[in-house]
Symmetry: C2
Subunit: 140 residues, 2 copies
């Protein structure tokens, strides 16, 4: 992975706060939705909190392949990641990621509906149009 670009892309991604997460159901119906980013690791593993069952949880279990886009038109930057996503519900992880504000959506850390989505990228592209032009840089 190109370290300089990776750091720029990571800084941008962490500032974006949200992603568009695109998945496909088993009948090839594509779906994309805005998701709050719970955490982005240094290797660009992206974590989300979601409820199970939900359309996205069902789609991920049917077809783990996903594409994540973070973009900000005002500063003309975007990151696009391809990879696989999995649903994790082990208690240690759920404790680690819990925030009090999730109480609006879940009964607590042990609510079975409270699950994590873990996206691991196989490919990452970063574009900073004002600095580098329209062509996205492949950083993984």
């Amino acid at each position: 992975m190109d370290k300089n670009w990776q750091n720029e892309a990571l800084e941008f991604a962490r500032s974006a706060n949200v992603s568009v997460l695109a998945t496909t159901s088993k009948d090839k119906q594509v779906n994309a939705r805005v998701m709050q980013n719970a955490q982005i690791d240094d290797d660009f593993t992206i974590w989300y909190v979601t409820d199970s069952p939900s359309n996205k949880a069902v789609e991920v279990s049917e077809n783990p392949q996903a594409c994540v886009v973070m973009s900000n038109y005002q500063i003309r930057k975007d990151v696009r990641c391809y990879g696989k996503i999995s649903i994790l519900g082990d208690q240690e992880l759920r404790n680690k990621f819990w925030k009090d504000c999730y109480s609006a959506f879940f009964k607590g850390k042990e609510d079975p509906a409270y699950v994590l989505l873990k996206f691991v990228p196989d490919g990452i592209e970063y574009r900073d149009t004002t600095k580098y032009g329209h062509i996205a840089k492949k950083i993984k």
Copy 2:
């Protein structure tokens, strides 16, 4: 279609300038990318300019089903549309949509690589979190 919500969603969508367009290839590989919106009609038909052949043009010809998301985290609004997308290359349309700035990408209005994507929504959801909360309003 709920007219009040439709007008709010339309105003937001037109101010967004870009979309994330998600499509799926015939082998169920999902792909999403940031696209400049060329035009959004009153009925939420969305027009894009693209080059042919490109990955997205190939994917659209294999599977026309698509999902479009426009979002702005700063103002906590997003629009999500489900529908079908088609590739159009007739000269009348290409003349209508042509802008001089496209010369950076195409040889001119008659360049066969210069094509339009027309997205027609079957479903539209709009969310204005600060005004109406987290639940998206189905406007079509």
